[in-house]
């Protein structure tokens, strides 16, 4: 009995002793990749050619479109027309060619791009086929406003907000159409005689073209 008492008391101190204590808190974090592209201007840009001077000199819309990018990861921004040609809504004449390629629209970006195909100076906007964008995925032939095709260093723009990075995350895009007389759009380099009814000048009418701006994770 005495031995049992001694044994019991011997183990008692060890059972009661707590020389330290620890607590654990499990913390989880979900970092969603965020890419926000905001157009701060009216999404419709109108060009109305009503007189000879406007045909000859063309019309330039400075800051026609302004874009802002907020991104939490490296990104590219590219642009293309959703079709190869302008869509004619209404014809005002029976003369001329009603197939006007997207490339008659010239654009220029305020942000310098290092991509091979860019809009650093006034350049023709590439139509869907010429832009080589397939199912929304760009290629090296695509016009990049920021970044370029590829994921190597320097081929994307850094994460950040437009408010904090106005020089790189805010885009002011100028647009220009110069029909000329006759309206061959020669300054853009297109050759209307190769299209439609092969007429060398544009048919008077009302046309529209959809321009796509695509912000993507660095590709």
């Amino acid at each position: 009995m005495a031995a049992g008492l001694i044994l019991g008391l011997t183990f008692a101190p060890e059972a009661a002793a707590q020389l330290s204590d620890e607590e654990y808190n499990y913390v989880t974090m979900d970092l969603r990749g965020i890419l926000n592209l905001t157009m701060t201007t009216n999404p419709q840009v109108d060009f109305v050619f009503k007189n000879i001077q406007e045909y000859q000199q063309g019309i330039t819309r400075f800051n026609a479109t302004q874009l802002e990018v907020d991104a939490t990861l490296a990104w590219d921004l590219f642009v293309y027309a959703s079709t190869d040609n302008w869509t004619q809504v209404e014809a005002y004449s029976t003369n001329g060619n009603n197939v006007l390629p997207a490339e008659i629209l010239e654009m220029r970006s305020s942000v310098t791009s290092t991509a091979l195909v860019n809009l650093n100076d006034f350049s023709s906007l590439l139509g869907l086929t010429n832009s080589a964008v397939a199912a929304g995925v760009p290629t090296a032939a695509t016009q990049f406003l920021a970044g370029e095709f590829g994921t190597a260093a320097g081929q994307s723009f850094d994460p950040g907000t437009a408010a904090a990075n106005p020089d790189t995350h805010q885009f002011r895009l100028d647009m220009r159409l110069v029909p000329g007389i006759p309206a061959t759009f020669a300054s853009s380099g297109v050759d209307l005689s190769l299209l439609g009814n092969n007429s060398t000048f544009a048919q008077a009418g009302y046309y529209y073209l959809e321009v796509v701006y695509s912000l993507v994770e660095d590709l």
Binding site: E23, Y24, N25, Y26, T28, L31, T72, L73, T151
Partner: protein
């Protein structure tokens, strides 16, 4: 056995029991839910998310004590990635997670938000790695024996958590464990 000898052994063991119990330090009445941070907007990335009173720890100690905290992850200093949403960016560092440990009497040595580190180089909230002078409740960084039951302002700690990731980290789901340790002052 001689009854007097048995009595002596009993007294000796009782003394031993009392001596060991004097080293008893423990967290009591712990409220420690898992804590989740979900970043879905740019503003949340920039401004961060704060979880107030994410955790409450109550201390009871029969000895002078130290209290420190650190993180545990597979790679010390980096969050454990459970799911990846993209290929760009770096794995986030544990320093992104900040704690603010408050007591009613303002006893912790770190008064504001501080960045967490790996548990191998913990942040001491009470005491230090060395032996410390005993400080009683009401006199500063309290490390004297005591209990949250009688002096809750010095022995109860509320923990706020803040995560302000900023940009450039690889999108994904991450996890880490915060390790709170209470030990007798050595």
């Amino acid at each position: 056995m001689n009854p007097s000898r048995l009595c002596f052994v009993f007294v000796f063991l009782l003394y031993g029991t009392t001596f060991v119990s004097a080293q008893n330090v423990s967290f009591e009445a712990v409220s420690s839910p898992d804590t989740h941070f979900d970043f879905r907007t740019v503003a949340q990335y920039q401004n961060g998310i704060v979880q107030y009173n994410a955790l409450q720890l109550s201390v009871q100690s029969d000895a002078r004590w130290d209290f420190f905290v650190g993180t545990e992850t597979d790679v010390p200093g980096l969050w454990n990635q459970t799911v990846s949403y993209g290929s760009h960016g770096d794995l986030p560092t544990v320093e992104l997670l900040q704690l603010r440990v408050r007591s009613g009497a303002g006893t912790p040595q770190e008064s504001g938000f501080f960045a967490l580190r790996d548990i191998s180089t913990p942040v001491y909230l009470i005491g230090s790695e060395a032996s410390d002078v005993e400080i009683t409740c009401g006199s500063g960084v309290t490390n004297a024996p005591g209990s949250y039951l009688t002096e809750p302002t010095c022995y109860t700690f509320n923990v706020d958590m803040r995560l302000q990731p900023g940009f450039g980290w690889q999108p994904g789901a991450y996890a880490l464990t915060i390790h709170f340790v209470l030990v007798p002052d050595l």
